[in-house]
Amino acid sequence: MSGALDQQAAESQRAAQLTPLLPNDVLSRLERLRLSASKRFVAKAHGEHVSGRGGTSVEFSDYRDYAAGDDMRFVDWNIFARLNRPYLKLFQREEEMNVVVLVDASSSMLFEGKLDRAKELAAGLGVVGLLGAERVSLGVFNAKNSAVSKLGPCTGRANMLKLFRFLEGVEGGGDAPVEHGIERFLRQHTGRGVAVLLSDFLTYGDLKRAMNLLFGSGLEVYAVQILGPEERDPTLAGDVRLVDTETGDTLDVSSASDLLDIYQEYRAGFQSRLESLARARGGLFASVGSDDSLRWILFDLFRRKGWLS
C-alpha cells in the first residue's frame, strides 16, 4: 500500500518537473549563476559581459598569453621586448556574449550514460546562458554524413522550454568525430563568445585544428570530457577482443589486466593534452564521469574552476 503511494508520489513529482534533464531545484540554483568568460570578445548586441573595442572608452583589464589567431594589434610589445614572450592586452567592454553548446551524440557517447550526462550539462549551461541574457546556440552532431542539429541562437527565459525540448529529443548514435562536428557547426555560426564542448574527445582526428577554428571564431573553449566508469577505470581481464562501436574496428588484447596501468597512463596523458589545447587558447578543461553527480559538477566543480559564478 505504501509502495503504491510512493510510486504515485514519484510519478506526481516527475510530472511536475519542467524537464527530465534537470530537477527543478537544480534549475532554481542555476538561475543565480552566470558564465565566467576570461577572454575579450566582440558581439554586436549589448550584453552583460564587458568587452573592449576601439572607438569607445577602453579600460585595460589584464594580460594573458598570446594564442594563435589573436589580434596582433593587442600584443604588448614592451613586455615582449623584455621577456621575449608575447602577451596580449585585455580590455573591458560590456557586450553580449554568444554561448555555443556543442554536444557530441556519436555512438561512443551512448555508453554508460555519457550522452545523458552531456544533455544534462548542456541543459544546465544553456539555462545559465539564457538567464544571463546571452545568445545561446546548441549544436548536436551524430554522423559524418549528416548535418549538425542546431538550435538558436536564442536568449531569455522564454526560450528555456525550447532548449529543453530540443535536448530531450536528441538521439545518440553515429560515427561523427568531435572535430568533424565542430567544423561543420562553425560553418553555420557567427559571433564570439564561449563554446562549451561536451564530448569524450576520443578521436583519432586533429583536435588542435578544431580548437584553433573555435578560437579563431572568437569562441573561448570550455571543454568538458565525459567518460564512463569503465573508461575511467577499466576492469578488463584475460584475453578480449575490443570492438570500436563507431568505426567497427577490433583490437585483440591479451592479459588485459596486466595492461591497465599503462592504459591509465595514456588516459592521463590524453587528458593532459586536451587540457593544454584548451588552455593554450584561453579556454578551460574539465573531465567528469558520467556517474558523477550532476549537482556536484554544476555547483561544485564548475564553480571551483571558475566556469560559473
Binding site: S108, L202, E230, G238, D239, V240, D249, L259, I262
Partner: protein
Amino acid sequence: MMGFHALWGAALAGLAVPLIVLYFLKLKRTRLDVPSLVLWRQVIDDARVNSPFQRFKRNLLLLLQLAGLAGLVLALMQPFIGGDDDRIERMPILVDCSASMAARDETTGKTRLELAKERARSLVDSLRPGAELAIVSFAMSASRMTGFTSDRRDLSDALERMEIQDVGSDVESALRMAEAMARREPFDSVLLLSDGNFPADVEFDLPFKLDYQRLPPAGQNAGITSFNALRAPGGTWNVFCRMESTADSAVPGTVKLYCDGELVQREDVALQRDATQRVVFSLAGDTAKRLRAELSVDGYDSLATDDAAHLDLPLARPLRVWVSPGLTAVRHALSAMSGLAIYPGDVGADASSYDLVVTDKRTELDLRTTSALYIGLVPDAVKAHVALSEGGSRAIDWQRDSALLRHMELTDVVFVDTPTFAPGSGVADLEALGFMTIVDGASGPVVLTEDRGAGTAVYLLCHTDRSTLPYRVGFPVMIRNLVEIAYHEANLAEVESLKTGTLSLHDLTPGVAHAFTTPSGHTRELKASAVGSLVGMSAPVVGEYTLTGPGGTRMVAASLLDPEETSLAYAQELLLHELTVEASLTPLRPERPLSGSIALAAFCVLLGEWWLFNRRPGVS
C-alpha cells in the same frame, strides 16, 4: 656423457605444429564493445607491452604446452647420462657369498654381501634396453642364480635369494662357470663383487675382461679357528681352542666352554693380529660329551659365525681290537701297548664291533670294524689281477710317508709267497678298484690299502708266518702305526670339530635311507652306502645337523673354523695365468636414465598449464 636410447622419439617434436595451430584456433576471446579504441591502440603499441617478456606472458599457456610437449618428447627419447656400464650388452655378475662376506660394517651395519647386492642392484636398475645380466653366486662352488636376462625383477629376485654360506670362497669355480656361460652366450666382460678373501693365485686363463670390485673391509674381527681334543693319559681329554684376531692392538676377550649346554669353564684372553691365542681345557673322558666354545671380545667383532665352535667328545674307552688267535706275533706286539681291549681275550670272547681287526681268516672278513689288517688274504676284487705263488719276493719299493710304514725299513724282508700281476694287469687296475699299493714287490703288489670311508683296510698279501717280517724291528713299529691309525679312525686319539662344507658320517645302517636335516630345517633323504657311510653331505652353514634313521637320531654340529675367513684378509689383485687383475674399490658408475625425471617434470608443467588455464578469467 649424455646420450639417447631412442632418438626416433625426436620425430614427435613435429606435434608442436598442430599444437600451436590448435592453440590459436582454440583461443577464444570475449568480444567487448567499447566506445573507442583510441586509448587502447596506444596501449597496445606501447613498447613495454611489446617487450619479449610481455609477449611471453601473453602466450604463457602456449609456452607451457610446448614445454610439456618438449619434456615428453625428450623423455621418449630416453636420455641418459652415461656411466661405466656403457659397454654392457651382456655381463655376468659373480657375487662372493662365502663366510667372510657376512662381516658387518661397524658404521653402516651392512654385511659385505648386502653391500655387494646393493652394487649389483644399481646395475640392474640402470640396465639399458637390450642389455642382459646374469647373476652367479659362489662360495665353495659356483651356482648360477639366473641366466642372461634383461628382466629386472628376475635379477632382483635372484639377488634377494642370495645367502651367505659359512665356507671359504673358490673364485676359480666362479670364473670357470662364467667361462662355460660364455661358450653359449658370448660376452666381453665379467664383474666380480667380493671382499677379496680368497687365494690370489688362480689357475685360470681369462677369456674375457674381468672387473674385480673389492668391497671395503668391514672392520676388525676375532674368531675361533680351531677346536679339537687330544686323548690324555688317565682317560681324560685335553680340549684345545685356538683363536685369532685382526685387531692391531690387544683386545681383551673371554672364551667360554659349554658341556652339554652347561658352562663348565671360561678363560680370559687377549687377542691381536698375528698372535694366535690357544687355550686348553681338561675334561674327564668317562662319558661322551657335546662341547661348544664361545668367544666374546670387548671391541667390535664384525663376523659372528666364527665366534662359536662345536665338538663331540666320545667316551675315552680302550681300542677294541680283534686279533685272530693264530697271529701270535701280532698279539705279542699288541701286548706291549696299553689302552687296548684285545679280543678274544680277558676282556671277552667277542664284541659287536671293533676298532681294529687283524686276521688271516676269510671267515672273519665280515667282522664289523673301522680299521683292519688282513694278512695273507687277497681281496676278492683283486684276485683277477693278482695271484699268489711260491717263489719268494722282496719289497722293492714302499711309500715311506704312509702312516702304516712310518719309521720302517723293508729292504731285507723276505716273503716266501710271490704276488704276481696277471698278464695285462697293473697298478692302475688296482687303483681303479679302490686299492692303493703301498709296498711293491718285483712282480706285483705286496701291501695294499683300501679306504672304506670310515676307516682303512690294509691287505698284507703275503702271510707274516711265511716271511721274515715278524722278526724285523720294523714289525712292532708297523703294528704300533696300525694301532695309531685305528685310534684316529675310531676317533679315540684325537677329535676335531666338524667344519662346514661337507659332512661324512659312518656306522650307519647300510643301504637304508636316512633323513638329513639342516639347521634351517630343510630335510632330505639320503641313502647310506653298503658300508654304512654317508659321505659328502652338503653342510654350508654353521649349526646343528640331524640324521635320523633306523639306528636312531644322531646330531652333529658344523663350525666355520677357517683361519682365512676369520682373518678377513683380502687379495688386492688376482694373479691369473699371464695376467694380473687389480681390484677396484669404486663401484661401476651405472648409467643414469633421465626419462623418469624428465617425464615427471613434463607432467608438472602440464599440471601447471592446466591450473593456469582454469584460473585465467575471461577465457572460455
